[in-house]
Structure formats: structure tokens, C-alpha cells
């Protein structure tokens, strides 16, 4: 009987001998991930709209503009992650809310990297 009732109980953090951690750093990572995806889309549009920015993103001749777009995206993603982590490291932040914000940012990032979309920002002529 004791065995049966024990099986029905959920495992607790006491059972696992660990203390809980704040969820701020997890929310920070999720938000930063969404921001990184958004920035990739933004860099893609900027490279299409501006010849100057396109030249700036060509860090490697063989790879072309993708080299800078990828490197800049990773840099701003990591910088945003570090900043958000520092700001939220001891705080509570609703992870579901962070996920919704991140999903919206990822959706914008994905849509703005579709060729017919970012090509619309190319200069006329």
C-alpha cells in the first residue's frame, strides 16, 4: 500500500537533492534566440536595400554577403543573450511569455529571409 502511494507521487526537487534556480536566465536565452532570428531577417533586408551595407557584409569574397549576415547575426545574438542574461539572471520572467515573443521574432526572421519578401526591398531599377 505504501509502495503504491509512493508510485503515484511526483518526484520533487528534494528527492533529487537539488535547489531550484531562477527562470530569468532561461527567458533571457529564449528571447535572445528570437532576437537573433529577427536580426538575420533585418540584415538580409538591409543588404538587399543598401549597396553600402551589402559591401559591409561581404567579409569573405568566396562566401559573399552571407558571410557578414551570418557573423553579424551571431554577434548580436550573443551580445543580446549576454545583456538579457545579466539583466534577468536573478529574476522571475514568465517563460511562456518569452516563448511567445521569441516565436513572433522567429516568424518575422523566417518570413524576411524568403527571397520574394526581401527582394521587395531592393532599390527600384
Amino acid at each position: 500500500m505504501t509502495t503504491n502511494s509512493m508510485k503515484e507521487e511526483s518526484v520533487s526537487l528534494e528527492d533529487l537533492a537539488v535547489q531550484d534556480k531562477p527562470d530569468g536566465p532561461v527567458a533571457a536565452a529564449i528571447l535572445a534566440g528570437g532576437f537573433g532570428a529577427f536580426m538575420l531577417g533585418l540584415f538580409t533586408i538591409l543588404a538587399e536595400a543598401s549597396a553600402g551595407f551589402k559591401a559591409l557584409t561581404t567579409l569573405n569574397e568566396g562566401v559573399g554577403g552571407l558571410s557578414g549576415k551570418a557573423v553579424f547575426t551571431v554577434i548580436v545574438w550573443l551580445a543580446a543573450w549576454a545583456g538579457l542574461h545579466f539583466a534577468l539572471r536573478t529574476k522571475h520572467f514568465d517563460v511562456s511569455r518569452a516563448l511567445v515573443i521569441a516565436l513572433v521574432l522567429v516568424a518575422i526572421g523566417v518570413v524576411t529571409t524568403i527571397p520574394p519578401v526581401f527582394v521587395m526591398f531592393a532599390p527600384a531599377g
Partner: protein, 170 residues
Amino acid sequence: MTLSNRETWTLVHGMIFGVIFLLGFAGGLEGLYSLRPQLLTAAGVRDRVRRLRIGVVAMAVAAWGTVITGTWVIYPWYREKGPESAKSVLVADPATSQWHSFGMEWKEHIAWISPILATVVAFIVVYYGVRLIKHERARRAALVLFILAFGLAAVAGGLGALITKTSPVL
């Protein structure tokens, strides 16, 4: 039977990292889905989280390996200036030019979102460890991002496979 330098790198990009990515996704998905306190004992949670860590970190590493080799090793061969490069062959024929103007142009960009999201998931699992069992929202968020990372990589990988079939980088 021998492989050229380009064939070897294409194999590393698409098959080696691809297989690790798929295995990591399968293990990680099962681990994240089933990590529920009412289903496991304390020992079971520790064991499952240990395997889950390996799965999500492997998937993140494989995703980074795939985009880095794809962008900095294989892509320059694809877009070489000569008339025999894979890109030149595609754009020369109106029947295949959209494989470049849509397929490659989209693939080369969205592929970079996958490792970012996979890294976020790996961080969540490594940060919480066994505590993830008590953070249902974080577990669900990790699951959503994990599937999204896989989906984006699947789109990029699928387009890459079709482009390679039409005009291989060899």
C-alpha cells in the same frame, strides 16, 4: 573507390553532421516529451536528463557544424564565377534558375536560425538539469524550439539535397 576533397566535405556537411543532428533530435525529442514527474522516479529523472543533455548538445553542435561547413567550405564552391559552377549551371537555364533564386537564397539564410534555437534548447536543459522536471513551461518551450530548430534545418537540408541533385557541387 575514392572521394574528392569536395565530395568529402559535402559528405561531412550533409551526412556526418546530418546524422548526428537527426540522432540528437530523436533522442532529445523523446527525452523532452517524456520528462514528466508523474512518470519517473528520482533515479529515472537523473538518468533521463543525462541522456537528454547529450542529445540536445549533440544536436546543437551538429547544427553549428552543418552551417559553418556549408557556408564557409561548400558555398564558395557552389557560387564560383566559372560557367561550370553549380550556381552558374542553375541560373543559365530558366527551367532550373529558381533552384538558386528561391531555393538556395532561402536555404542559406534560414539554416542559420536552426543552430541558434538548438543552442537555446541546449542551454535550457543544461541550466536546469534535473530541475527541468519541475519547470513545465520551460520544458514545453524547449520542446517547441527544438521542433522549430529541426523544422528549419529540415527545410534547409531538403532544399540543399534537391539543389545538389539538380546541380551538384563537384
